[in-house]
């Protein structure tokens, strides 16, 4: 073979970068400074003792908490055993096969939903109301059907189930709706234990879980620099039981973190580094995914912005940091501050989905969130699937080879000819040119014949189509009852402390 080319560099995908390596290092060493000098407050004795035994300095102990300062070598030591790659799988289908696997490491992207919104937009009336069990099941069914949704979180709190045990019911609703990997939340440590038990049942035993865990657990330390008892308990339990943990603070620039985005990144990293160190002290090799949700406060309304350019930019910058650190990341996109499925929802989701994809965030969550994370929107979930698809086309880039340069083809067709019937077109148009599934490209007359439907109407139809499609249950009756039993036992244990179950609905 004749070789004529040399020094030729290829971009297999577009590249996007917010921070340089020097900037990343500046932020990282600043976080080490904060962890060693300012410290973090820990509201859990067990966590304080573990940190102390690992070399941390314990100061200013009060009745319920201590200030913990960690010398930088503790972080170095923890990073040496921290997994660079974390895997979460979906449970198997009835044929025994798992079809959905998330391998989280540098530059791998997976999109998924957000979790635990008090409200949802009713798919039929379009009205905002309290979320219930059926909503979570519906959202899971949508996620199961949408090809670009890779993992699921409970898009709604099941508020028609008991307040202290709703997490188990949510997990059941999710398992009824999808076999994709799940990121669960838990009311408390008992809630994690019950859901782990449910996962063992779903997978067919603890050994199956050991091979590949079927959920990760969402753990949220409170900014600025505070780690509650519940958060530390969950972290320790995850480390002990091989549960990947999403340790993600949600700092709010200007309110619970410095208003400068670099300062917010430093603080978020400090908060996550504490989680990393504690997890590795408890069990070297414990699986941690750090986040990933950081934004600014809107200074007119004092709300947490999910659709701001700063949210997209800061999350992307944090992805640069986590790639450098070689720790899997929890990114944020597909979300908006709007109140209904409208132009703002699509504009904000499009920009943050594209940004998160371009930067290469690993576990990109919150698809389907509106109203600052208070409401889930099924239509935004469906539309986001197409936005993600569109984004992935951009991520595939433009391969430049002798074949794609198509010199021979141009020579054959020549000036004034056309390419429509050429084999080169026939062979390649499907992979080269993206086709929309909901976006409209019809000529005017056909669009009119089809009912002159707007994008919103077409998204609504797609959503209803998925929700009303007959699908085979993912759980057989026996397994469903077994899982349900765990939820009911939890209800029994908590029945004395519950308020009226109807208080929310």
């Amino acid at each position: 073979m004749q070789v004529r080319k040399t020094n030729y560099q290829v971009n297999a995908t577009p590249t996007f970068q917010v921070l340089t390596e020097d900037e990343i290092e500046a932020i990282y060493y600043a976080a080490l400074h904060v962890l060693a000098e300012t410290g973090v407050r820990v509201y859990a004795k067990e966590g304080v003792e573990l940190a102390h035994s690992g070399g941390a300095i314990v100061e200013d102990t009060t009745e319920d908490s201590s200030l913990i300062k960690m010398p930088s070598w503790m972080v170095d030591k923890a990073r040496a055993t921290l997994p660079e790659r974390v895997t979460v799988v979906g449970p198997p289908y009835k044929d025994g096969k798992r079809k959905h696997v998330m391998e989280l490491f540098k530059n791998q992207i997976y999109y998924g939903t957000g979790s635990d919104t008090p409200f949802t937009i009713d798919p039929y009336t379009g009205k905002r109301r309290r979320a219930v069990y059926q909503d979570v099941k519906n959202m899971a069914k949508l996620a199961e059907a949408l090809p670009n949704i890779d993992f699921f979180m409970s898009l709604g709190i099941t508020q028609d189930t008991a307040v202290g045990t709703y997490d188990r019911w949510q997990y059941l609703a999710m398992l009824e709706g999808t076999n994709k990997p799940i990121n669960i939340t838990a009311v408390d440590i008992e809630g994690v234990k019950d859901q782990l038990e449910m996962a063992y049942i779903r997978l067919g035993g603890k050994e199956e879980w050991k091979k590949a865990p079927a959920f990760s657990l969402y753990i949220e330390p409170v900014s600025p620099l505070s780690h509650s008892e519940e958060v530390v308990q969950k972290l320790l339990f995850c480390a002990d039981n091989g549960i990947p943990m999403v340790y993600t603070p949600c700092p709010l620039a200007g309110a619970t973190a410095p208003t400068t985005l670099a300062g917010t990144a430093v603080q978020a990293l400090t908060e996550s580094l504490f989680g990393i160190v504690l997890s590795q002290l408890r069990k070297p090799g414990a699986q941690v995914i750090i986040g990933g949700l950081m934004s600014n406060m809107d200074m007119r309304t004092a709300v947490y912005c999910y659709g701001s350019p700063e949210m997209a930019l800061l999350s992307a910058a944090y992805t640069d940091i986590t790639k450098w650190l070689r720790v899997p990341e929890y990114e944020t996109a597909g979300c908006s501050d709007t109140k209904c499925f409208d132009e703002q929802a699509l504009m904000e989701a499009s920009i943050n989905i594209a940004t998160a994809g371009l930067i290469g965030g690993n576990m990109i969550h919150d698809v389907g969130y509106i109203e600052q994370g208070l409401t889930s929107c099924p239509e935004l979930l469906v539309a986001s699937d197409e936005i993600i698809d569109r984004t992935k086309r951009i991520l595939r880039g433009i391969p430049v080879t002798d074949e794609t340069l198509a010199l021979e083809v141009m020579d054959e067709v020549g000036p004034g000819g056309h390419f429509l019937a050429h084999d080169h077109t026939f062979d390649r148009f499907k992979t080269e040119i993206w086709r929309p599934t909901i976006s409209d490209r019809q000529v005017w007359e056909n669009w009119e014949l089809g009912g002159s439907k707007t994008y919103q109407e077409r998204v609504h139809e797609r959503m209803i189509g998925i929700l009303e499609a007959e699908t085979e249950p993912l759980l057989d009756e026996e397994m469903y009852q077994e899982l349900r039993r765990i939820c009911e036992l939890a209800d029994d244990r908590h029945k004395d402390e519950e308020l009226d179950l109807q208080m929310f609905v």
Partner: protein, 211 residues
């Protein structure tokens, strides 16, 4: 209005921390009464701030800076107001409920209420019903405000109201609640006197509750 009151009012609006103390003392030197400085200088400025904030022309950090300027002036005026027996708007007791460390919203409410002219006692976060009850007994507030971010901790608001009832002090204090998952319907259900969806309207609500 005298020049000096206008200057005090402007210093409040601009959040001028360098000038407010001197201006307050200048006003007293001009033999203006503490009550007049409070009403025609400080509150006039804060009222303007409130209007501009609602119109979207002023922002949270600016409002808080104004409230801080007012606090600095009040430190000088408070002893004089107490001497002459002038009543402040009232006392607001605030806390984030048990199990919840999310207190940014509550902190905002505290600063907004101070700016509105209330004396604020902030209990902090993770406050159990008994903690609220004890504080109500100790501080005798006009308004008790509770905040929660989580649906799991919201329940604690109802327990607190029950505890106040059982202790026989429910009638002595107005209860207002807020936080992301809280709604007016929930407030009605648990027997709170009011609900506010944001910090500025919480201060307005507190004013309504004491009027």
């Amino acid at each position: 209005m005298s020049d000096i009151l206008e200057q005090v009012s402007t210093a409040i609006i601009e959040g001028d921390l360098d000038e407010i103390v001197d201006l307050t003392e200048d006003a007293l030197d001009e033999e203006l009464g503490a009550e007049e400085i409070l009403n025609k200088g400080l509150m006039a400025g804060m009222d303007h701030v409130g209007v501009e904030f609602k119109a979207g022309n002023m922002f949270v950090p600016e409002v808080l800076r104004s409230a801080r300027a007012m606090q600095m002036s009040m430190e000088i005026l408070n002893p004089l107001l107490a001497e002459s027996g002038v009543q402040m708007l009232g006392k607001v007791l605030l806390g984030t409920v048990k199990g919840d460390l999310h207190d940014i919203g509550k902190n905002l409410v505290a600063m907004m209420c101070e700016g509105a002219g209330f004396v604020v006692k902030d209990l902090g976060k993770d406050i159990a019903p008994e903690g609220f009850l004890e504080a109500v007994k100790e501080h005798d507030p006009d308004v008790l405000g509770m905040s929660a971010l989580l649906t799991t901790t919201m329940r604690s608001m109802e327990s607190t109201i029950k505890a106040l009832e059982e202790a026989g002090v429910r009638d002595k204090v107005k209860v207002m609640i807020g936080g992301a998952p809280v709604t007016q319907a929930f407030a009605d259900q648990i027997g709170a006197d009011g609900y506010a969806s944001n910090a500025a309207s919480a201060a307005d609500l507190a004013k309504q509750l004491v009027s």
